[in-house]
């Protein structure tokens, strides 16, 4: 059929600007400065395991917190009147229109030693608390910035759960725990996996949040990559190797995640 040809420009575009660049990252990871083949870059990524481990750990914590916060909220939203749902959904999306660097910067103002939160506590004679430049602050920044990415897919899956399904379960004698574990939870799995993906991936590779809220000492994998390309320790080959490892790791994780729901849940939940 002729209509297939309509996707040709797209196919060419993605090939040139997605596939080829990624291939170049792989290529750069395996050459040295002079352009000779080497395994040194990739093998030296092992030295930075603490950074990788810290990134994964912090991103995982942030993802779990997002899930725990967002799940009840999305459920509550999805059970509201249609009109109110719209308003609240709008309120969830609205913060994303403010530049995320500025929002993170605003958190700096809040968390600092002489920041607003500490000044608030000082009114009651408490504090000051050390909040900025800690790993906790980094996690907070991640949760704050990526929470909407968890709420939206969860909400759009839950809104499809018919109230009558839940009522039917109740009529059949299920208590609220069983309603949750046998009806709501299984039906919302695609939303959960999408939400996890959409929070974990940007969180694990962020390089701004850790710099602004973590004080630069809590280096994450994204900072490490930035450091090698445009930062203070120029070595693009090592940077490419770290990028490659990060990419492979994430694609692997995602392919595992996707095996939990084989439907086209992602697409449905995204929109």
């Amino acid at each position: 059929m002729k209509t297939k040809a309509a996707s040709l420009p797209y196919a060419v575009w993605t090939f040139i600007f997605i596939v080829v660049p990624l291939a170049m990252v792989a290529y750069f990871a395996f050459i040295d400065e002079a352009g000779h083949f080497t395994l040194e870059n990739v093998s030296s990524v092992g030295q930075y395991t603490p950074v990788l481990a810290r990134s994964i750990w912090l991103a995982a914590i942030a993802t779990v917190i997002c899930l725990v916060i967002a799940y009840p909220l999305s459920y509550l939203l999805s059970r509201m009147h249609v009109g109110r749902q719209k308003v609240f959904l709008m309120l969830v999306m609205l913060p994303m229109w403010m530049n995320f660097l500025l929002r993170t910067y605003a958190w700096m103002t809040l968390l600092e030693r002489n920041g607003l939160i500490n000044r608030f506590f000082a009114l009651f004679g408490l504090g000051p608390f050390e909040m900025i430049n800690t790993q906790g602050a980094v996690v907070l920044g991640m949760v704050y910035n990526y929470l909407p990415f968890m709420i939206l897919p969860l909400y759009s899956i839950m809104v499809k759960i018919d109230n009558r399904t839940i009522e039917a379960a109740q009529d059949l004698g299920a208590n609220s725990y069983h309603v949750f574990s046998k009806v709501v939870l299984p039906l919302s799995v695609p939303g959960i996996t999408t939400g996890i993906t959409m929070v974990f991936v940007p969180a694990v590779s962020t390089f701004i949040i850790s710099r602004m809220l973590g004080g630069g000492g809590n280096l994450l994998i994204g900072d490490l990559i930035d450091l090698q390309f445009l930062g203070n320790a120029y070595n693009p080959n090592l940077g490419a190797a770290i990028s490659l490892v990060l990419m492979v790791l994430i694609l692997l994780c995602m392919s595992i995640m996707n095996q939990f729901d084989n439907d086209e849940g992602m697409e449905g939940a995204l929109l």
Partner: protein, 267 residues
């Protein structure tokens, strides 16, 4: 039962307080007389007036808008065509194309940014508007496709074929039959592309050049020293504009709904 309602409302309230706390801080500081964010010395509109004299900020705002408009339009055209093509593919080809489409979404942004930087250096492209627009089109394309595809799938295939049978050329049939059906998807895809382009920092950071700093990149260089309250003023204006737009759209929707309800009752 009432107690539970109270509990859930508190919960919702707390989360929204969390979401809006920093935004409140941002807006409050746009009225702060002092340039320092350590103290709040008094109320002023100065920064709003100064904003329009700040060439750097205004220039990067213009750059950002140009890039967002151009890239979202191009991405919408290529993406819509691609979605139509993908929709008519067989299962194997379709899944190959879809995997390709998901790749830039799942791939960490920083890796996409770095990879494009390597490509542009290799192609000896001068970093600037061209590279930024290419990069923005690339990361917006999947969102357009993913918005248009479901609409295509919902469509009755035979309507298109009927149009062909009735003597339409494929292009005419597309314009008269398919396009009106998928238009909502196309529009939401374009809006998404536009929004992402406006707010993108990571990929722009790696593909920007000396002549084309976008607003997020400018803000980034400011956060390394001190964000001038003029930026807060600008964000406040953007926030109010977006809020107003959303409210108007919502209000119109509500009215339409009410009208529909009323006419249904009338029947």
């Amino acid at each position: 039962m009432k107690k539970r309602k109270w509990l859930s409302n508190t919960y919702i309230g707390l989360i929204f307080a969390f979401l809006y706390l920093p935004i409140g801080v941002l807006i409050a500081y746009s009225f702060n007389e002092s340039k320092s964010r350590a103290v709040f010395t008094g109320f002023t509109f100065d920064w709003y007036a100064k904003l329009f004299h700040n060439d750097v900020i205004i220039q990067s705002l213009i750059n950002t808008l140009i890039i967002a408009v151009v890239s979202s339009i191009v991405a919408t055209i290529i993406g819509t065509a691609a979605a139509v093509g993908i929709n008519s593919m067989n299962k194997w080809m379709k899944s190959a194309m879809m995997n390709l489409t998901y790749l830039p979404i799942i791939n960490p942004e920083i890796v996409t940014g770095v990879s494009m930087m390597l490509l542009f250096v290799f192609l000896k492209l001068q970093f600037g508007f061209t590279t930024l627009i290419i990069a923005h089109i690339t990361f917006s394309l999947p969102y357009v496709i993913l918005n248009v595809l479901p609409k295509l799938r919902q469509m009755d295939k035979f309507v298109y074929e009927a149009a062909l049978d009735l003597g339409c050329t494929p292009l005419l049939a597309f314009r008269k039959v398919i396009f009106p059906e998928i238009l909502p998807g196309v529009i939401s895809g374009m809006l998404m592309a536009f929004t992402f382009s406006l707010d993108d920092f990571v990929i722009s950071y790696f593909t920007t050049g000396p002549t084309s700093q976008t607003l997020p990149v400018t803000i980034f260089s400011m956060t390394r020293r001190k964000v001038s309250p003029e930026i807060n003023a600008l964000s406040t204006i953007i926030f109010i504009v977006v809020l107003a737009t959303l409210l108007i759209v919502n209000f119109k929707d509500l009215r339409k709904q009410k009208k529909v309800q009323r006419s249904e009752v009338g029947v």
